[in-house]
Symmetry: C2
Subunit: 129 residues, 2 copies
């Protein structure tokens, strides 16, 4: 089965997170992307997102592992919704599966870029009040 270009982008992002290659990682986001750092706290734009990932890497003792345990993509023209079972682990952090939700936008060049990265899914409800 052909893989969806978004699936390839997410795999690239996961590898970049594990390798702490933040230049490659930032290429996957739109300029105005929003990352949910934790429920109730967002990073907006590439500068803030990069800083957040640098802090997350330290928090996970430079041993963060990310993998996807099942994923579905729903596409409507230049917008796509990704539902994923994202498994996060690290030294001293037992594997935790998150019901992640990602939104991608197709750029005029045809590239799919992540505009909303919410790995916490519905956990954010009532945390932003």
């Amino acid at each position: 089965m052909n893989r969806h270009p978004i699936e390839i982008q997410i795999e690239k992002a996961d590898k970049a997170i594990v390798a702490e290659d933040f230049d490659v990682l930032m290429d996957i986001y739109t300029d105005d992307a929003v990352l949910v750092i934790e429920p109730g706290r967002n990073a907006v734009g590439k500068n803030e997102i990069r800083k957040a990932f640098e802090a997350i890497a330290v928090y996970f003792k430079n041993g963060l592992q990310v993998e996807q345990n099942g994923m579905e993509i729903i596409e409507s023209k230049e917008t796509a919704l990704v539902l994923a079972n994202t498994v996060v682990s690290g030294p001293g952090f037992p594997a935790t599966e998150r019901k992640a939700t990602y939104v991608f936008n197709k750029s005029p060049g045809g590239n799919w870029l992540c505009s909303i990265d919410n790995s916490y899914g519905h956990e954010i409800i009532d945390k932003n009040a």
Copy 2:
């Protein structure tokens, strides 16, 4: 607190579903919107979505009730992700809470329209294989 225009759109949609006012309901969708009818089965475009809602109304014995029990909206420029606890019930159908995921796009006129309507959230994973 000011309500987000998307929250108002969703309230309008819920009321239209309950009232079976499909003209009003279709105004809330983009032309190329995708509705998850049930895991593994999608309706694409206003014609298919309207037919799906007509069938859903009959399935719920013309007594479908929809309400939102908590909602969060993450906005990035012209795209927004909605996480909602959507409660569905009807005659003979006990209330069921779904971890719904909706994507809205801001039209050039400034209106937020629903492009992806997946009230089943992560339940769709591995159902489209």
